[in-house]
C-alpha cells in the first residue's frame, strides 16, 4: 500500500480522528487463522487448536512526515479484553511485522538468518513492545518506549483502534530495528489476537504474505 508524505507535526498523526488521515487511503486486509500445524514441533498441544483466529479483517492507514511513520489500525472485536481478571483469561492485541531482508518469510516469523521486526500492542499495557523474531518460538519483546515506538489506542462501538508511531530511521544498528526511507519499498504483515477467544502466540489471525509498503517521497 502507498504511504503518503503528509506535512504535519508527528503528534497530530497519533489522533485517529485527525483530518490528515483522509489523505491516506484505507487498506482493508482479510485475516485468516494461522497455519498452526506448522508449529507442531514447537508445541503439539498448541498445534491442536481449532477455534482460534476469528477476527477476519483489519483496516489500515499509513502515513509519514519525513521523520516519523504512523500506522493506524482498526478491527472489529465484540469483547474488550484488556485485563486478566481470572487465570483463564487472555488479552486483545495486534501486531505489524516487517522483514529485514527480502528472504524473510512472514509465515514462519522469519528464521535464524532472516529475522523480522514486529510492533506489538496489548490491550493491558500502556506501552507497546518492539519484537524481534528469528522464526516462531524465538520472539523477544523489547520495551517499545526505549526503542522510540509509541502507541495510542481506543475501543469504541465494538472496534479497536490502535496507532503505532516510530522514527523512519531507528537508533542504533545494534538495536535490530527495521528502517524506513522515502522512495523505498518494504513489506508489512498484520496479526490480531482476540483475548475473548483465548488467542495468544500462534493462536491468532494474520494477513498472509508481505503487503508491499511504498513510502512516497
Amino acid at each position: 500500500m502507498k504511504v503518503p508524505y503528509i506535512k504535519q507535526h508527528a503528534d497530530v498523526f497519533l489522533d485517529p480522528n485527525a483530518g490528515l488521515w483522509k489523505k491516506s487511503a484505507v487498506g482493508r486486509f482479510n485475516l485468516m487463522p494461522t497455519p498452526i500445524k506448522m508449529i507442531e514441533h514447537l508445541s503439539p498441544f498448541m498445534a491442536n487448536s481449532t477455534e482460534y483466529g476469528k477476527v477476519n479483517q483489519i483496516e489500515s492507514r499509513i502515513a509519514h512526515n519525513g521523520a516519523k511513520i504512523t500506522i493506524l489500525l482498526s478491527w472489529q472485536d465484540a469483547t474488550r479484553n484488556d485485563a486478566i481478571r481470572d487465570l483463564d483469561q487472555f488479552i486483545d492485541g495486534v501486531a505489524v511485522m516487517f522483514p529485514f531482508t527480502s528472504n524473510a518469510n512472514p509465515l514462519t516469523m522469519g528464521d535464524a538468518e532472516n529475522p523480522v521486526n514486529a510492533w506489538f500492542w496489548r490491550a493491558d499495557k500502556e506501552e507497546p513492545y518492539d519484537v524481534i523474531a528469528h522464526g516462531y518460538g524465538s520472539s523477544k519483546r523489547r520495551i517499545g518506549k526505549e526503542l522510540g515506538l509509541v502507541v495510542n489506542s481506543s475501543y469504541q462501538d465494538g472496534r479497536w483502534t490502535v496507532v503505532f508511531q516510530r522514527a523512519l530511521r531507528a537508533g542504533l544498528i545494534s538495536h535490530q530495528q527495521v528502517n524506513f526511507a522515502p522512495d523505498k519499498v518494504t513489506g508489512i504483515s498484520f496479526a490480531v489476537w482476540d483475548g475473548g477467544n483465548a488467542d495468544r502466540a500462534a493462536q491468532k489471525s494474520f494477513s498472509g504474505g508481505w503487503e508491499p509498503l511504498e513510502l512516497e517521497a
Binding site: I39, H41, L42, S43, P44, F45, M46, A47, N48, I84, R85, D86, L87, D88, F100, T101, A112, E113, N114, P115, I132, H134, G135, Y136, G137, S138, S139, R141, Q176, R200, A201, A202
Partner: protein
C-alpha cells in the same frame, strides 16, 4: 542479514536428563497435616501475586482434589502418544486466595458482634476453596473411607509442559527437575493446559507461569526439598531413582510398592505413592470381611491396574510382621531415622 544465530534446542534436548530425582509418598502414613504445604508456601509462594498457588497440596480423596477436578481438565497424551487438549483452571479451581476481615473483627472491637468471613480473590463469598472437601471422602456407614492425596509437580520423564511451550522456556535440569525459565515465559499457558496434573500455576501479575522447583537451591546443597524434609508423618523418601542405596530406588524399583498417580496420562511421572491399605470393610451384619474399605476400583482409578500388585506385596509383608517374622519392607516403610529416607540429601538448611 545475519543478526543473531539463535540455535533452537529440540524438545528431546530439553527433556533429556542424566539422572532423575524422585519422591515417594506413603499414603498409609499421610495424616493430612498440611505441613508440607505450609513449608512450600513459606519458602516459595508467600507472595501477594502467588497466594492462589499451592505448588505442594494435600486434598482428600476421593473428591475433586486440587486444582479442582484436575482429572477432568485434559492434557497429557493418549496411548498413541498424541497430545491431548486441556483446559485452564480458574482462580477458584486453583483454590482461590481468600482474604479475611481480620481488621474489622479483631482490631476494631467487633469480636462479640461480627464473624470472621472469607472473601474470594474475585470478590464476594467463596464458591470453593483449597481443602474445601477435607475428610469428606465417600462410602456409606459403616464403610466410609478416604485418604489424603499429597501432590506436587511430578518432574515427569516425558513432561507434557516442556512439549507444550512454543517458546521452549521449560526444560529439565541434569538431575531431572523441570523448571520454567521466567525470562523466556510470556504467559501463553499452553503448559498449564498440557500438564495433565495441572501442576503449573499462572501468575496474573507477572503474567508468567510458575511451578514447583523441587527446592533446587536446596538440592544443590544436598538439602532435601522442603515438603519432603518437613513431613512429620515420615511419609517421604527422596533421592535419585538410579541410586540403588536410596529408599526411593528400593521402594519403586526393588520392592515395587510405590507407583505413580494416573500413569495413563502418558508423562512418566516421578512422584510415586505407596497405596493405602485401608481397614477391613463390614458386611450387612456388621461383621468384618476380608474386603478393604477403599474399593479396588477406586484405587485402580487413581493408580492404574499396577495398584493391585503393589497392595498384594504390602499386605503380604504386613502379614509377616503380624506373624512375628521379619519384613525388611515394613522396616523400610517405618523408617526410624530420617536420614535413611533422603539418600545423599541429608544436609540441614542453613
Amino acid at each position: 542479514m545475519k543478526i543473531l544465530n539463535n540455535t533452537v534446542p529440540s524438545k528431546q534436548q530439553l527433556m533429556a536428563s542424566d539422572r532423575q530425582l524422585a519422591t515417594v509418598i506413603d499414603l498409609n502414613k499421610c495424616m493430612g497435616c498440611q505441613s508440607c504445604v505450609v513449608a512450600c508456601k513459606n519458602l516459595w509462594t508467600e507472595r501477594e501475586d502467588a497466594h492462589h498457588m499451592r505448588w505442594m497440596s494435600v486434598a482428600t480423596a476421593p473428591g475433586s482434589l486440587y486444582p479442582r477436578d484436575f482429572e477432568k481438565k485434559g492434557g497429557g497424551y493418549d496411548q498413541q502418544g498424541n497430545a491431548q487438549a486441556g483446559e485452564l483452571p480458574s482462580m477458584v479451581d486453583s483454590g482461590d486466595a481468600f482474604t479475611f476481615n481480620h481488621q474489622e473483627v479483631l482490631y476494631e472491637g467487633n469480636a462479640q458482634s461480627k464473624k470472621l468471613e472469607p472473601t474470594s480473590a474475585l470478590g464476594g463469598a467463596p464458591e470453593w476453596g483449597y481443602n474445601w472437601e477435607e475428610d469428606q471422602g465417600k462410602g456409606e456407614w459403616p464403610n466410609p473411607y478416604f485418604f489424603y492425596m499429597p501432590r506436587k509437580c511430578n518432574h515427569c520423564s516425558q513432561p507434557a509442559c516442556v512439549d507444550a511451550c512454543s517458546r521452549n522456556a521449560i526444560y529439565k535440569r541434569e538431575d531431572g527437575i523441570v523448571l520454567i525459565d521466567q525470562d523466556k515465559c510470556e504467559g501463553h499457558r499452553h503448559c498449564v493446559a498440557a500438564c495433565p496434573y495441572k501442576m503449573i500455576f499462572f501468575n496474573p501479575v507477572t503474567q508468567k507461569s510458575e511451578k514447583c522447583i523441587e527446592c533446587f537451591p536446596r538440592i544443590d546443597q544436598k538439602i532435601a526439598s522442603a515438603c519432603n524434609r518437613q513431613c512429620p508423618g515420615r511419609t517421604r523418601a527422596f533421592g535419585f531413582l538410579d541410586d540403588r542405596n536410596s529408599l526411593v530406588y528400593r521402594l519403586v524399583e526393588e520392592f515395587k510398592v510405590a507407583i505413580p498417580l494416573h500413569p495413563e496420562y502418558g508423562t512418566t511421572p516421578n512422584v510415586f505413592y505407596v497405596p493405602p491399605m485401608s481397614p477391613q470393610a463390614f458386611d450387612d451384619n456388621n461383621e468384618l470381611t476380608d474386603e478393604m474399605r477403599i474399593p479396588d476400583s477406586v484405587l485402580e482409578g487413581y493408580f492404574g491396574p499396577g495398584v493391585h500388585k503393589a497392595l498384594a506385596i504390602l499386605l503380604a509383608e504386613r502379614e509377616k510382621k503380624k506373624q512375628g517374622e521379619a519384613s525388611e519392607l515394613m522396616d523400610l516403610l517405618i523408617s526410624r531415622k530420617w536420614q535413611d529416607r533422603f539418600a545423599e540429601f541429608t544436609n540441614h538448611p542453613v
